[in-house]
């Protein structure tokens, strides 16, 4: 049996604009035109005010490190990466997403919470995944 590959997302109709944004090098999230709040993960209605008037906006690609673990066990396809950082990051709009940190050592000393990050996109399957690197690291 071949070694497992990393899981690749398959878009659904409501998430497709997000994944199309990633392929274009943009981090697109939803904004409710009724109450003005931002929404992530993509969905058909605003969880704050029930409006279905959601528009897609481009976030600026920055984030802060909200929380993380350093996995010492390999998830499917991650054998080469161990240890690796699984993080929850917060975008300036206040929404959060899970991601991996790249271009930084998987060492707690290098990873203070709230450190500034910027998005980078990595091809995976038919999509591009948003990963995050320290804001000051080389592009």
């Amino acid at each position: 049996m071949p070694p497992p590959t990393k899981p690749a997302p398959v878009p659904t109709p409501e998430t497709l604009p997000f994944w199309e944004g990633c392929a274009a090098g943009e981090l697109r999230i939803q904004r409710c035109t009724s109450c003005g709040k931002h929404v992530f993960y993509p969905r058909p209605a605003c969880p704050h005010c029930y409006s279905t008037d959601l528009e897609w906006v481009v976030s600026d690609g920055t984030a802060t490190l909200h929380s993380y673990v350093i996995s010492h066990r390999a998830g499917p396809g991650f054998a080469e990466e161990v240890p690796y950082v699984i993080a929850i990051v917060e975008l300036p709009e206040g929404v959060r997403m899970m991601t991996n940190l790249v271009q930084v050592e998987a060492d707690p000393e290098q990873l203070p919470l709230d450190m500034p990050l910027r998005v980078v996109f990595e091809p995976r399957g038919d999509v591009h995944l948003p990963l995050f690197a320290p804001a000051g690291s080389a592009a």
């Binding site: 990393k6 899981p7 690749a8 997302p9 398959v10 878009p11 659904t12 998430t15 993960y41 909200h66 929380s67 993380y68 673990v69 350093i70 996995s71 010492h72 066990r73 390999a74 998830g75 499917p76 396809g77 991650f78 990466e81 240890p83 690796y84 699984i86 993080a87 929850i88 959060r96 997403m97 899970m98 991601t99 991996n100 707690p108 919470l113 995976r124 995944l129």
Partner: protein
């Protein structure tokens, strides 16, 4: 409360053994726990008309295998806290006349995985799109993701997190059925194998096979049967949901479903924290009981780590917690909530291995998924 509205647990038992049981399928684990609980209640399947359990294999299979023609079935599956939901749902169903006596079963081949459901999720699911691609590998790398945020915001230390595992091992040390019984120190915990920083192996739950069941009915029916054990009364219950993905919790430092379900259960029971003699908080990982202590209001924000480290939840402490040793030292099949209820029943009856003196009221708080759903039960020796 009238005898026909007073809901009681009349039967409670686990499988004969817990641990590594490759000779028992998931169904067999359910049925062994069910037979033991029915025997504990002095009943046979003919006395049961309601069945509640989770997939796998689900309430239809359990009813069929036991030959029960159920008038009420509940398959609520919200992870390891499902059985607390089932108790609450059974109470409502019995009071509404939909069932007379309900059997709630759990069986899980968590370790040997004999007919266990697969882990795979669709790459189109929310999890498949927004969490699985980042190399999460089950609960040890996802449930744990909130802890560093909590520790930074509250000043809780790694040593205090380790103290949760130390305290529970003190209870397990008194329990011959606990899988891990040897006392451990904070250093032992911190120096055990790193799983997902900051969590080491001893801060994570066990992975075992096992099962357990409950029989729920009314005090009126129980008294009519001449039951010879102390009845365990359901004084209050609450249930709540949070987020289907840990990354989408509104607040990583607090579990809303613990807050809301405990508030509802305490209000229904008409109790305050000082009325609680014994506490079970689902401990899939060391930080979960810390959240529970704070979210239910037993201690203030950021105080739980010190509270545990000072021995308050250990043997001899003022709030004995997870007295079977918990998911970290006793057993953890995957959906541990059933075992938390079982220990609370034993403590209220006065038949626990590490019995706490004079338990009038016990509170059980269950987590489902990874901070996904939560429920709280208040159990008591006397009716409300």
């Amino acid at each position: 409360m009238s005898a026909k509205d007073d809901i009681v647990i009349i039967g409670a038992a686990e499988t004969d053994q817990l641990g590594k049981l490759p000779h028992l399928s998931t169904l067999s684990l359910h049925l062994e726990g069910a037979r033991n609980a029915l025997a504990d209640a002095g009943m046979t399947p003919a006395d049961i008309d309601g069945i509640a359990t989770v997939q796998t294999p689900g309430p239809v299979s359990i009813a069929h295998a036991l030959g029960v023609e159920a008038t009420w079935l509940d398959g609520t599956g919200v992870g390891g806290t499902s059985f607390l939901f089932h108790v609450r749902h059974a109470a409502a169903a019995i009071r509404a006349g939909l069932a007379g006596t309900v059997l709630i079963t759990h069986g899980e081949s968590g370790r040997s995985r004999v007919d266990a459901p697969g882990w795979g999720r669709s790459p189109q699911s929310l999890n498949g799109q927004f969490e699985a691609p980042y190399g999460v590998f089950g609960p040890p790398t996802a449930f744990t993701l909130t802890a560093l945020r909590y520790m930074k915001d509250t000043g809780t230390t790694l040593e205090q997190l380790a103290e949760v595992a130390v305290a529970q091992r003190r209870w397990a040390n008194k329990n011959p059925r606990a899988l891990m019984q040897d006392l451990v120190t904070v250093d032992d915990v911190l120096n055990s194998k790193m799983i997902a920083w900051p969590f080491t192996l001893l801060m994570c739950c066990l992975v075992t096979d096992g099962g357990g069941s409950l029989v729920v009915t009314t005090r009126e029916k129980a008294e009519a049967r001449g039951y010879d054990k102390p009845l365990v009364h359901l004084l209050g219950a609450g249930e709540a949901a949070d987020s289907p993905m840990v990354s989408q919790m509104p607040d990583l430092t607090s579990f809303g479903a613990f807050k809301r379900s405990s508030a509802a259960a305490f209000a229904e029971a008409g109790i305050t924290h000082s009325d609680v003699d014994h506490l079970m908080i689902y401990d899939a990982f060391a930080h979960v009981p810390i959240y529970g202590l704070e979210d239910a209001g037993f201690v203030g924000r950021g105080e739980a780590g010190a509270f545990v480290a000072e021995g308050n939840t250990s043997p001899g402490g003022k709030l004995p917690m997870n007295t079977n040793g918990g998911g970290m030292s006793y057993t953890h099949t995957g959906m541990y909530g059933m075992f938390a209820i079982q220990e609370a029943v034993r403590q209220v009856r006065g038949e626990a291995a590490a019995q706490v003196e004079g338990v009038e009221r016990s509170v059980v708080m269950g987590n489902g998924g990874m901070f996904m759903a939560g429920a709280t039960l208040v159990l008591g020796k006397s009716p409300r």
